[in-house]
Amino acid sequence: MSHAPQQGRRRGRPAQRRAAESVLTRLIQLSGIAAILILAAITVFLTLNAARAISEVGLWEMITGTDWYPTSENPSFGFLPAEVGSIWVTIVAVALCMPLGIAATIYISEFAGKRVKELAKTIIEFMAAVPSVVLGLVGITLLVPNVRTWLDLDTGLTAFTAGLVVGVMALPTLISIAEDAMHAVPSDLRTGSLALGNTRWQTVYKVVLPSASSGIFAAVMLATGRAIGETMVVLMLAGNSGVIPTAPFVSARTMPGTIAGEMAEVVQGGLHYSVLFAMALVLFAVTFAINLAADIVLERQRKRWRR
């Protein structure tokens, strides 16, 4: 705070302004810590509310349970249908958005002219701002009937359909982070590669992609986290059946969809309520782990280019 060369200037300022400055510094410090506090509070809140389910049903019993009949006389609270459903939706989403997103990133970062690049980046940012309900409605009217006829299925409300839309939703996350990673690759590497006689395309896949690989990996991870947590679209499109899906082309329920769909009508403080919080806890742990992993990888890449 008080470095020697600034001392003279500081003393000259009115006391009032100095006080204001220190208050402001404190406030900013607090906001910095707030994020951590909020995260901790969320964890505590989820755990407290899930406590009843964990003690009465058992966390492991829920995670490995195969039946989801929450409102029956003898309810069973097995998360497995929702867990497997979430995994299928995420696999489809990532399988769609990874190649598309990385290809788009390569084009935007390495080949596009300045104007096209600005335009594309702006439009991708706009994509991120489309509310998920809107995409869900588009999915219901455009995708659901067509998926049914294209693939000759019984119904278009499948994990696959939801995965397609979630994949599109995860694209902006993936592209903007992967683009940052490729942008961070020093241009010396590119010019060096070109000087050695590589074409631009060779430069991309021999030099730029390997150098940015950890950043791109992190982008894919964050997009995965985004896909797992997406709620509205999967609630509207995945079909929410109780079976444990063995392929993406059947109706499946997902963890976020189950929580969102059932929370409104449960007895508050009841067992079903608590079980939904336990499911939220599992979901939170999974997305937290994925984002943490992505962050560690990103940080590693940053360190690499800081030298």
Partner: protein, 289 residues
């Protein structure tokens, strides 16, 4: 550069929206004061999403007749409404199901005595795609279909196609009613049943899928779907009223203790022929007078 593109896109979007607007005329008619009512007060209502439109319609008419009364209304679900009643934050909880024993215990613990008033009935229609040749099912067949014991339309007189089961999700009062009446209290829905988040989602899927079967409130039936006869009786408000059509359930409003003052006036008016007329207008089944 980037800023300009963003601005241009925003302007384009704004213009599109303005273009969609059309003409909106102010509606003064609803603001006319009622015939010399002196009721004043505020009523908070929260709960069932099924009942939101109905409650809104009641509130509008009642407030027009009693300009001194303010009714605020929130959806969120029956469970949410009942929890709010137990916590003392609302006057009425709307519920499309009866209170559960667990909730009654909670209420007693907090010194709240919930009083139930049945305010309307909701007929449930079983719907299929218009292309489906099946015109009716018996209650027995319907139960077997929803338990997953019949999985092909050919077993109930239709084509050789798999049945795509549609249901509301377990948070819905309709889901629980249907489970008790059709599936069986001790039995379970087939795991293959798709639990959709809204009635509209069921209509949408049935409209586009010739193999689908679903259930919706009578008020939500559209010409895009075909309503099945149950035990040979067509689903209709009249049928539900005289009891010949079996699938109908009660809609409730819960208060803490017997409603008094403004609340009593409101609920009495809801139960009056005028209030029940609104029920019918909204596509629900009025109570037998």
């Amino acid at each position: 550069m980037k800023k300009w593109i963003a601005l241009a896109l925003t302007v384009a979007l704004a213009l599109t929206l303005v273009g969609c607007g059309g003409t909106t005329e102010p509606t003064d008619a609803a603001q006319e004061p009622g015939a010399g009512s002196e009721l004043t007060g505020a009523i908070n209502v929260e709960g069932s999403d099924t009942m939101v439109n109905l409650s809104q319609a009641w509130a509008e008419v009642f407030q027009t007749q009693n300009p001194g009364v303010m009714i605020s209304l929130k959806g969120g679900g029956s469970g949410t409404g009942i929890a709010a009643l137990i916590n003392g934050t609302v006057d009425f909880a709307n519920a499309s199901r009866e209170m559960k024993p667990e909730e009654l215990t909670q209420a007693q613990g907090k010194g709240v005595t919930p009083v139930e008033t049945e305010v309307a009935k909701d007929g449930i229609a079983v719907v299929v795609n218009p292309a489906n040749p099946v015109t009716g099912l018996t209650m027995d067949q319907l139960g077997k279909v929803y338990r997953g014991e019949i999985t092909n339309w050919k077993d109930v007189g239709g084509p050789d196609k798999a049945i795509v089961l549609l249901s509301r999700d377990s948070s819905s009062g309709t889901y629980e009613y249907f489970k008790e009446e059709v599936v069986g209290k001790e039995l379970e829905y087939a795991k293959e049943a798709k639990l959709l988040p809204s009635t509209q989602a069921i209509i949408d899927e049935t409209k586009g899928n010739p193999e689908a079967i679903g259930y919706v409130g009578l008020g939500y039936v559209t010409p895009d779907v075909k309503v099945l006869e149950i035990d040979g009786k067509a689903a209709s408000v009249e049928g539900a009223l005289d009891g010949s059509y079996v699938l109908s359930r009660g809609l409730y409003m819960y208060s803490n203790g017997e409603p008094a003052d403004v609340m009593k006036a409101f609920i009495d008016w809801i139960l009056s022929p005028e209030g029940q007329k609104v029920v019918e207008d909204q596509g629900f089944v009025p109570l037998a007078q």
